[in-house]
Amino acid sequence: MTSPKTAAVALESTTVTLPDTALPAGDLPAPRLLGPAFALARREFTRFIRQPHRVIGSLGQPLLFWIFLGAGFTPSFRPPGMEGMTYMEYFYPGVLMMMILFASIFSTITVIEDRDQGFLQGVLVAPVPRLAIVLGKVAGGSSIALFQSFLLLLAVPFLGLPVTLSGIALVVMAMVLSAFGYTALGFAIAWRMKSTSGFHAIMMIFLMPLWLLSGALFPTAGVPGWLSTAMALNPVAHALTIVRAPFYADAATALASPAYLTSLAVVVGWVALCLWWCASRVSRRDKGVQG
């Protein structure tokens, strides 16, 4: 470092003195990914817990959906090949999915709030890989969604589902994957958004169809051709498949089924794609144009 005197001289000089030696940047340790990501995720969850109305709201809505729709549809629910299944039972994985989907995506509204309030810029100038910022936010949002949906999972023993322990393990895995996929999707969409109300509008026209066409509300068998194509392309439908199947089969049986494996591959690919999309959006800097 220069002394004040040489610094003053440097100010006097009219020529450009290029620094002869670059400062060591703390000899650049290997990019730390998980530490910063974990710290950001923990912050996300702490914030959530400290806002009780968020907890109550996100728990209450799917529960009401489930109880009202379940009770109302059960008398008329007679799909072919599903005799003996109540609508409460059919709808249960769909409610789980709804909870994960909505809680995940809406947890990413905090991206817009963070940007608004200035927290985000502090994170962006920190020496962390951009992917760590994405992972932290996505893992934080996912943990909020999973916290709520795990509470709903406590209802399983009372539903009379033929579920095994290994099956539950697969259900949990599917829930984690879904949460990551949805949160990453919400993150990528929220990243450039200026207002939370705009985000709400976009997400409602975008989210509702994804969920409605997932098979959460009605079985996919016997729907019109166009609808069946739309459902086959919908990642939420595949996520629902891998959540629902293990309730009725143990892990070995599920993992041996080509339909299950296809859906699993689609969901994994979709999570990876969304995370990559997020990272590329975060890495982009506002570039000035030639003018």
Partner: protein, 331 residues
């Protein structure tokens, strides 16, 4: 050695359907030697914020280069980030977390695991936060919340500190204590500080002040030499009708005033002439004058002088050393 070296920086915001492209920075060059406290000033829209966003790596310029600590900002931002602490205008702390939680989060982001406790004590030593560690930031006063920002940045022992209007919203006492603490820390730790500010009392403490207007550097010098540019004394008049009175001064008194808002200023008056001039003006035009006085220039006057008539200033820039340092001014 120059800690921050900005060469021919240009930044143009892309136009939208409703708005044409806007030049925020035009060929800006600026050097800040290591260990200096530099204040960046300028009217709203002068390009300060754009420059700040570029320096902290949030925006990429249209052209030109920035080197910080010898690293090129465009190609090696990951080498610069560890050297740098940034205090933003809008608070970059989480209001729902406590002071301690915010500092821990920052330490984790910078990979300070293990050393965090010691660093935290060190970063808080100068502050008034020691009894408030468990309190949520939303419960702190504005001044204390600003201290959290600064303490947070100090934890990583930055060599360069960038601050964007850090004293905005603080009362004069808190502002003064913030600046004094900052100045002391900067000297003790030999940091290079670049701070944007609107507040001229802030600038009195700086090693150098850079004044921006319309995306170009108008002046960059020590506070004393900047003040010398305006002369030793000036007469400030508030007439009822500034435009008409300017003509009166030019024709009747052969003085060319500078208009700034409702004020007319006759700058660089030799000390012996100020009082006789005031007496003469009052003798003949008492009814047209709301107030009149003599004034020692402070940095605000420099600012008015430099930004109020930048073109004229460029043409008759008096101090030769100032002209030499900013060759782009004479263009």
């Amino acid at each position: 050695m120059h800690m921050i070296l900005i060469r021919n920086l240009r930044h143009t915001y892309p136009g939208t359907r409703r708005q044409s492209a806007r030049n925020a920075l035009r060929d800006l060059s600026l050097e800040i030697p290591a260990g200096q406290f530099c204040i960046l000033s300028g009217p709203n829209g002068s390009g300060k914020s754009t420059l700040f966003r570029i320096l902290c790596g949030l925006a990429a310029p249209s052209s030109g280069s920035v080197s910080i600590g010898g690293h090129d900002l465009a190609t090696a931002p990951e080498r610069i980030r560890p050297l740098m602490g940034v205090v933003f205008q809008s608070p970059a702390v989480d209001k729902n977390l406590s002071v301690q939680e915010n500092l821990t989060l920052h330490a984790d982001l910078h990979g300070l695991r293990g050393t965090a406790a010691g660093r935290m004590t060190e970063a808080l030593a100068w502050s008034d936060l020691k009894d408030r560690l468990g309190d949520r930031v939303e419960t702190l006063s504005g001044g204390l919340a600003r201290q959290v920002e600064l303490a947070k940045c100090l934890m990583t022992r930055p060599q360069i500190l960038l601050l964007d209007e850090p004293t905005t919203g603080l009362d004069p006492a808190s502002r003064r204590s913030f600046i004094l603490a900052l100045r002391r820390l900067q000297r003790d730790r030999k940091m290079t500080v670049l701070m944007t500010s609107h507040v001229f009392s802030d600038a009195e403490f700086a090693d150098s002040v850079a004044i921006l207007r319309d995306g170009a550097l108008m002046a960059h010098d020590t506070p004393d030499r900047l003040k010398a540019m305006v002369g030793t004394e000036m007469v400030v008049i508030r007439p009822r009708d500034p435009a008409a009175f300017a003509t009166v001064l030019e024709t009747g008194f052969s003085r060319r005033p500078v208009r700034y808002g409702d004020e007319l200023r006759i700058e660089n008056i030799p000390p012996a002439e100020a009082v006789p001039l005031i007496a003469a003006v009052l003798d003949h035009h008492r009814a047209d004058v709301l107030s009149i006085g003599v004034k020692q220039p402070d940095l605000e006057d420099v600012f008015v002088h430099v930004t109020g008539r930048g073109a004229a200033f460029a043409a008759d820039a008096e101090p030769s050393d100032s002209r030499a340092r900013q060759p782009e001014l004479t263009a």
